[in-house]
Symmetry: C2
Subunit: 283 residues, 2 copies
């Protein structure tokens, strides 16, 4: 745990970083967040993260109490207070302390904003370790707005799927949605490579619009690699030439097996490696 946390405008010692017990983020998951990295002292794709934070907050009608410049300063101040040139920074925004009980928020609540930083290092550019993922029993609810925004109250299924996967010896889990189409991993977008093209679930599948996925798509476009957002079944993924995950903290992560079945003989494929190398190069 790092020493300093930013809470509602002030840097405080972590041991003193407190929020009200009545905060609706704490009682109802009524809040949103972003997790981004700081690399060499600079926030990575900050504008994308702040745009998504505002979209998530708007979906729940939570006001964002700072302009982008103020949020950027909070991110930088928190990383610097902890002497971190490389950091994972989490920005959490909730509706704030409840003024009454029940689901319906009272008017006039003041939102709570917390910024936390942890040490982070850009992954090494060498041959990456491929991970083994489970196929979760929990389905992702693509009918829920929570599936497309980054909300505190939207992670319980991921928590359960991740715990189940860990107990069974897997590194992570992939979730299908309620129509049996692939959605994503617990905290990452999923991409499959088939005959040289990247296929990734469309947002309508119940997928967060990943900042790293967007960045990787730009790289694919630049490299002339075809990119399609579509509907994928588990069978499509199992028969893919390559599978990889994208996530701001973990960057581009090769998947070498799904539910115990090896992907393409358990080797990390060339398109995954090329996209990862380019992503890390510009990071």
């Amino acid at each position: 745990v790092t020493r300093y946390v930013w809470v509602n405008g002030a840097i405080v010692e972590s041991s003193a970083a407190a929020i009200m017990a009545s905060d609706r983020g704490f009682t109802l998951g009524d809040g949103v967040f972003e997790t981004l990295t700081v690399s060499g002292g600079c926030p990575v794709r900050l504008a994308d993260h702040l745009r998504r934070l505002r979209a998530s907050a708007a979906a729940l009608s939570i006001p964002v109490p700072y302009p982008d410049g103020g949020l950027e300063q909070a991110v930088l101040d928190t990383a610097r207070a902890n002497d971190l040139a490389g950091a994972v920074v989490r920005v959490t925004l909730t509706r704030g302390p409840a003024l009454g009980r029940g689901l319906v928020p009272a008017d006039g609540a003041a939102p709570t904003l917390v910024v936390q930083a942890h040490p982070w290092r850009k992954p090494a550019t060498g041959q990456p370790h491929g991970i083994r993922v489970a196929l979760a029993s929990v389905r992702r609810n693509e009918t829920s707005p929570a599936s497309r925004i980054k909300a505190i109250g939207g992670y319980l299924d991921a928590l359960v799927a991740r715990a189940e996967a860990g107990s069974a010896g897997y590194d992570d889990a992939i979730l299908l949605n309620t129509t049996s189409h692939v959605a994503c991993a617990t905290t990452s977008n999923l991409c499959a490579v088939l005959r040289g093209a990247v296929l990734t679930p469309a947002l309508e599948c119940g997928v967060l619009d990943g900042v790293t996925r967007r960045a990787v798509r730009e790289i694919a476009d630049a490299l002339g690699i075809q990119w399609t957002e579509t509907w994928l079944t588990a069978a499509d993924v199992l028969s893919a030439d390559e599978v990889f995950l994208t996530n701001s903290v973990r960057t581009v992560v090769p998947v070498v097996s799904v539910g115990g079945s090896q992907i393409a003989g358990g080797e990390v494929g060339p398109i995954t490696l090329a996209l990862r190398r380019e992503y890390l190069r510009v990071l």
Copy 2:
């Protein structure tokens, strides 16, 4: 907002009732809760609520740091500290402050337990006001364990459905599940009455095992009213003779219209009234 809150074993002023900003309940919705009433100084169906709290906590592998007697004392102490003979008491249990980042909790975290009380009066026994409910666009995810436990991270869909319903002028909303069967209202179980029998969605429909629903079922049994847990469609509910909701705080609430369509001419039916009267009598 009441004056005193119970936090991790101590009664403190509400203004000083704080939890750590790193609490996983606040960051990830990684916690569970119960909302129960205190009537005439006594907790209502406390054993049922504590059993469900333990079941919810077990589903997320969160240890419960007190025996039932300690939890009961916390409920009573919180109500009494606020001079409330009639109270809504909420018990919130989270995994506690995170020892690192990410979905996977580190071993050795100390859970957070908070007990809050608000004034509550037993509803009057006269003719109740029937409410008008919307049919939510969000579907309840019956494949998620969150649909059957009372978790902080399980209320986002309900928050969204309730906000949408409120904007459209409704009092509450009913959610279907992903197979288009009726699940429940945003914070209540739903019952329909057809030809003198009560029909209510089975737990497999993605329904919380409601304490008040159980209590009302006992009353139905005693009155010789047939009670069936089953699968219901929206059409079944729209063509029912009566519809009512059950909830610890609101007790038994008649529904007089669903999605703008009147139920049985908008009148509150005799079985709803009988069950409500008996429930309030023993409360």
